[in-house]
Symmetry: C2
Subunit: 459 residues, 2 copies
């Protein structure tokens, strides 16, 4: 029996050197579809949006292992390996026989796992000779990650930041600018779609949907630019596989094997990455842990959504993808402050769940999530992002079940990031102002009302 | 020749298990003096202010190695070892033959090295059966560290936070409250000294001096409370020695030895900690690196201050200590935003500098410091605290000198923390609004004007 340290860092020479492509081993996901024509999309159809290699990766369901390019691997080494942590103090607090591990992705300036994919996107764009990338950001984590990666690889970056966020979080904007990004509050008068929004509502606070549309328009109209998106895409799940591969390699080094793997699920890219290492075992017919996805009760795409074709954005301009969705028009209740607001779920994760490879999805109320976050912070020292706290809460529930049953299960969960920029939500919880409001069935029905009625009988 | 990784983490079983007390090996520092009586202070005189063990540690100049108590060691393991980083990307940027290493202390929720001492203070207070601690905080890093440590060890914490900071940084206040601290903007009407300040100026923005006085008054008047201070004290330098011991142990593991060790210097606790490992060699007569302290030109205690007795606080209520000081009434120019604002310097560091054990002190203008910080952030990915960037800038200067001379020196500097909460200063720099204003000789003269004329002829 090895002596397990509090934090285990994989030696640099044992870091994964290839991403793992779940699609090579799983049943095929339904193709992306052009919303106007109903035609299946191919990689070439994406190359005016994404960098060439990224377009190919988006469609690749054949190649199981894709080498991480040398410069990306070197970039990873500036903040990876992320630690595999043994939650001794949490175990003690819960008085559980369970062994709790977490993979902590928050030890970098972006504060989350987003950097894993941002680095890959910036590298491939640079390699192709592009001048810059355009993207959108809400709270700012993805924009920060992209600005860090673009600064490193020598690319311009244009960020459309939801206007209300840029006003409420001026320091997030400042971080992006420190790394050289150009940040434009959205809606802006610099794009046609932005001007359209402003014409209707000059005081618009902005939305992620509008920012996405502006970023795509900017990229399309700017020589040498492409668009970058940090969640949901197949390419993002691919890049995030580094989390799960590292986690498995570290567990192997320690002689440990999880009985349960738990990840929070918004767009699904973190979850898809986290489970990659062990899901491969299941897809190839070997024994594997139980996989649990955790989502907010306010945005329950897997537990209450439909598995059908929908737009990837809220504005309805992207290709259609088959996924668990609440409808692209879905709006979480105003009280929801725990992150993971996306209406849909990664097509890869959706398919794994639909076909039973991903065992379970649970939805949690945010008051329980914040309560778990604070218990965790006080004993494990790390202040978690509310998103990550969904996984913490579910892991604590499992550990308490172990206390009750006497089983000494091994639990691994993903701690995707830190909560330093989510203090308004923590304050609301501490002051007692936070409420749990569940969407009604008609709230969810309403999310589908805005999807254009298209007729794709073959799907 | 070992293959040096980007980040090296000492294995947990090689973490230091004892702090190193520089005073055991260095010439004696002049005693602390009671400002009213002129009497030398002894440990017992401090026990109504600090926890008992901390009072003893403050005076201990005999014991070279003090065991880190088991619970503190376990707490350290929740965020330590901190990585020893090889700045490959910075070396490449500077095209230098120098090898640059940095010890990064920002990978914890407080964002800085402060937690190393906070953990010790909270533990000893709890062990003594105290109910709580009181402290002050300006920007919030120290208050955050104390709140984390008190939450863990089960102590109450009262934080007096400079009022203007609590208004400008509400989220720092929220983090402390999340960890269970009670935060009071200072000046407050809850203490006599606070009410005195408010009577003179009801709209006072507060100052660290006033917050210190309120915290001491609160601790004195509250059953089971003591006061905690995060910088300058001998006990803090002792606890921070873990940085330098870990750094040396990690360098030894890699088969490396620095030619130069560079630390930023505010109150001196980080610097004293960082140099501890190698300074022991010098104090015991063995070969040692060159030690360089870096301070802001706006607050140049070592390069332009006097080595004499002064108060530790700006209000003139603490014991008198012999140190490099700009006078306890010194105010840095209003344009100064780079941190390290303290008027004095740790008595230990002061003595080492005065006696020539610490080789050099350099003062840098903040524009150069922020320029270095941004260059560093873009290639090394970490956004540094402005304080830490002083050391970065000096290390880059040394590396450039190596490029010019062709010498392949090994440079080690301390990266004490992250800049996530210093974005106002970064924004000012990026927008071109930041200026360098040097204090005049009469500015420095003015700092001494408020020191009561005391007559201690024997010193």
């Amino acid at each position: 029996m090895k002596n397990i340290p509090y934090k285990f860092y994989l030696p640099e020479d044992k870091l994964p050197t290839a991403w793992y492509n779940l699609r090579a081993d799983m049943p095929p996901i339904d193709p992306m579809i052009h919303p106007g024509t109903g035609a299946e999309l191919r990689a070439d159809d994406l190359k005016h949006i994404f960098a060439d290699v990224l377009s190919e990766q988006e469609m690749d369901d054949k190649t199981p292992h894709i080498d991480i390019p040398g410069p990306v691997l070197d970039y990873y080494k500036s903040y990876r390996p992320s630690p595999l942590c043994r939650a001794y103090n949490l175990e003690k607090l819960l008085d559980t026989p369970a062994k709790i591990y977490y993979k902590f992705e928050g030890n970098n300036t972006s504060g989350s796992h987003k950097l894993n994919s941002a680095a890959a996107m910036a590298y491939y764009a640079k390699q192709q000779g592009l001048r810059g990338l355009a993207t959108e950001t809400g709270a700012g984590q993805w924009g920060t990650a992209m600005s860090m990666a673009c600064a490193f690889f020598g690319l311009e970056l244009k960020v459309f930041m939801v206007k209300i966020s840029s006003q409420q979080k001026p320091y997030r904007k400042a971080i992006m600018e420190t790394y050289g990004a150009s940040v434009t509050p959205s809606p802006s008068d610099t794009t046609e779609v932005g001007r359209g929004f402003l014409a209707v509502n000059p005081d618009s606070a902005g939305s992620l949907g509008c920012a996405i549309s502006e970023a795509i328009e900017f990229a399309s109209g700017s020589e040498g630019y492409r668009y970058a998106l940090g969640s949901m895409l197949n390419q993002v799940v691919l890049h995030q596989s580094v989390i799960g591969l590292e986690a498995k390699a570290a567990m192997d080094e320690l002689g440990e094997r999880p009985d349960i793997v738990i990840g929070c699920a918004g767009g699904g890219s973190n979850l898809g990455g986290l489970i990659s290492g062990y899901m491969r075992d299941r897809l190839q017919g070997r024994a594997a842990p139980k996989f649990i996805a955790v989502e907010p009760q306010s945005c329950p795409s897997m537990t209450r959504g439909r598995y059908e074709y929908d737009f990837g954005d809220t504005g309805g301009i992207t290709p259609l993808v088959k996924m668990y969705t609440l409808g692209c028009g879905y709006m979480p209740p105003a009280e929801h402050s725990g992150g993971l607001r996306y209406h849909g779920m990664s097509p890869i994760v959706s398919k794994l769940y639909h076909d039973g490879y991903l065992d379970e999805a649970v939805a949690l109320p945010q008051s329980r999530v914040f309560d778990a976050a604070i218990s965790f912070a006080r004993v494990e020292t790390i202040l978690p992002a509310p998103e990550s706290a969904h996984a913490i809460c579910a892991a604590m529930d499992e550990a308490v079940r172990c206390r009750e049953s006497g089983e000494a299960k091994t639990i691994l969960f993903g701690l995707t990031g830190v909560g330093s920029f989510d203090m308004a939500a923590y304050s609301a919880y501490i002051s007692g102002a936070m409420r749990d409001t569940l969407p009604t069935d008609s709230d969810i029905e309403a999310g589908f009302a805005t999807i254009p009625k298209l007729n794709f009988s073959k799907y």
